[in-house]
Amino acid sequence: MLKIDNLGVKYGAVSGVKKIDLLVNQGELVALLGANGAGKSTTLLAVAGALKCDQGSIVFNGQDITLYPPEKTIRMGIAMVPETRDVFPDLTTHENLKLGAFIRSRDKVGIEQDLEKMYGLFPILKDRVNQSAGTLSGGEQQQLVIARALMSRPKLLLLDEPSLGLAPAIVDHIFELILHLKNQGLTILLVEQNAVKALQLADRAYVLSLGTVATAGPAKDIASNSDLASIYFGN
C-alpha cells in the first residue's frame, strides 16, 4: 500500500533522514521505532507531504506521491496525527472534528454520521463538544486529533507518538483504541517511544537509527531478538 524507497530528507544542511526503505501492506500495523533524532517523525511528515524529500520516492497505492503537498496527500487517503498534536486551540472540539472532514465537505449526511461515531468512540469528547480545544487536557487533545484524522475516512493513518506525555491509564486507553482501529481494518504506521507496547500491537516493525533502517522484521522477532535498550541508546 505504501512503499518508501531510498528516502532522504534534509533540514537545511542536516539530514534528518538519510536512506530509508519501508513497506506497509494493506491492513497492517507497522511500528517505527528508534531513538530521538533517528528520523521517525521526519519520515511520517515526508509521507504526509509536510516536508520536502531530497531523494528517493514515496508510492501510495501505485501512485507516486513524493512531490505531493499535504493538501493532496490527505485527498489520497493519508491522514496524519502529528507528535505536536496541533489541535486548533481557539476552535471548539466540534469545529476541530468538522474540519477533519474538510476534504469531503459536501457529504453532509456522512459527516454527521461520522461525528456521532467519533463521539461514541471517544465519549470524553462529547462532554467537551463546545469547549475550545486549547482548554482540553493532553489526553483529551490526543483523542481529539485521532478522531479528527479519522473524520477524513483515511486509508492510511500516520500516528506520531500518540502516548507522548500522557498518564499511564490514558496511554492504555489510547493503545486500546489503536488496536480497535486496527481490528476494523485500518492500515496504520505508528511511531512510538513506548516500544514494548508498540510491538505488542504491531504486525511488523522497523528500527531506525541515525536516519537509516537498522533492523526490520515481524514485531515478535524484533521484540524477542533485540535488546530494546540498544534500539534507543545505540550499541
Partner: protein, 297 residues
C-alpha cells in the same frame, strides 16, 4: 447635556466603526501570514480612484460604490499574487519589501496617471445630510457608518463561525501546517484572506471618502497607520482584539477632540499615542491575547 452625550456617543461609535473595519481588514491577513500588508492603505486609494474615474458615468452611485469595493477586492488578491506569493516561502524581509514596493507602485501610478492633487469623488446627498436629535445635529453618514459596521461585523462573525471555509480560515490562522494536512489548500486560504481584506478596505474606503470627499495618492497612509495601531493595542493575533482596538482608539481620539483646548487640538495625535504607549506598557500583548501560537507560515 443629553444632546451632547448623544453626539459624543455617535461620534465615537462611528469613528470607532470605521477604525474597527480598517483594523479587521489588516489583521485578517496578519492572522494567516503573520505579516503586515503595507499595501493595505492603497486598497482604499483604489476604491477612491475608481469612484473618481466613474464620476462622469451615468451609473447610479450605489453601482459605482460597488465597483469601488470590487476593485479593492481585486487589488487585494493582486497584492497577494504579485507581492506575497512569489516570495512568501523565502524570507520575511523579502515580503516586507515587496509589500512596500507594491504600495509605492500603486501610489506612483496614481500620481502619474491621475494627479498628485486631490480629486473630488461623487457622493450621494445622503452623505451630506444630517438629522436633528435631542437638539443636536448628527450627520447622517455617521449613522450609516455605524449601521454598516454592525451589519458587516455580524455577517463576518457568522461566516467565520458557521461556514466550513470560515472555520478553515480560523484554523489556518493558528496552525497553518496542520490545516493543510487536513486538506485546507494553503493558496485558497491566503487568497481568501486577501480578498476579505480588500473587501473591508473597499467598504472603509467608501465610508472614509464620505467623510473627506476627496481622493489623493497618499490617502491610504492614515488608514494604514490607524489600522496598525488599533491591531497592536487590541492584540495582533485576535480578530476581536482588532475590533476592540479600533473602537478604543476612536474613543480616545473623540474624547480628546471634546476635551482638549483649542490651541492643543493640533497636537491631538501626540496625546493619543501617549495613551497607546501607556496601554502597551500595561498590556504588552494587547488587550486580547489570542491563541499562543505564532509560527510563521
Amino acid at each position: 447635556m443629553i444632546g451632547q452625550i448623544i453626539q459624543f456617543t455617535i461620534d465615537a461609535l462611528s469613528l470607532g466603526s470605521l477604525y474597527a473595519l480598517m483594523a479587521l481588514g489588516l489583521v485578517i491577513v496578519y492572522g494567516i501570514l503573520k505579516l503586515v500588508n503595507f499595501a493595505y492603505g492603497e486598497l482604499i486609494m483604489v476604491t477612491g480612484y475608481t469612484l473618481f474615474l466613474l464620476s462622469g458615468s451615468p451609473l447610479p452611485w450605489i453601482v459605482m460604490a460597488g465597483c469601488g469595493i470590487l476593485m479593492a477586492v481585486f487589488f487585494g488578491i493582486l497584492t497577494e499574487l504579485i507581492a506575497f506569493r512569489p516570495v512568501r516561502a523565502k524570507s520575511v524581509t523579502a515580503v516586507l519589501i515587496t509589500s512596500f514596493a507594491f504600495s509605492t507602485l500603486l501610489q506612483n501610478a496614481a500620481l502619474l496617471f491621475i494627479s498628485p492633487r486631490s480629486r473630488q469623488v461623487p457622493l450621494p446627498d445622503l452623505f451630506t445630510q444630517s438629522v436633528e436629535l435631542a437638539g443636536v445635529i448628527i450627520p447622517l453618514r455617521n449613522i450609516i457608518t455605524i449601521i454598516f459596521a454592525v451589519v458587516l461585523l455580524i455577517l463576518f462573525a457568522l461566516l467565520l463561525k458557521k461556514t466550513v471555509l470560515g472555520i478553515a480560515l480560523r484554523a489556518a490562522a493558528s496552525e497553518f501546517r496542520m490545516a493543510r494536512m487536513l486538506g485546507v489548500p494553503a493558496n485558497l486560504v491566503i487568497s481568501l484572506a486577501f480578498a476579505i481584506s480588500g473587501f473591508f478596505a473597499g467598504v472603509v474606503g467608501i465610508l472614509w471618502l464620505g467623510r473627506i470627499g476627496v481622493v489623493l495618492p497618499t490617502i491610504g497612509l492614515e488608514p494604514l497607520l490607524i489600522a496598525f495601531i488599533a491591531t497592536v493595542i487590541g492584540g495582533m493575533r485576535s480578530l476581536q482584539g482588532a475590533v476592540l482596538g479600533g473602537y478604543l482608539l476612536a474613543f480616545i481620539d473623540i474624547s480628546l477632540n471634546y476635551t482638549l483646548p483649542q490651541d492643543l487640538l493640533q497636537f491631538r495625535d501626540a496625546f493619543t499615542f501617549s495613551f497607546v504607549i501607556l496601554l502597551l506598557v500595561l498590556k504588552p500583548e494587547g488587550l486580547i491575547k489570542g491563541p499562543a501560537t505564532g509560527q510563521r507560515t
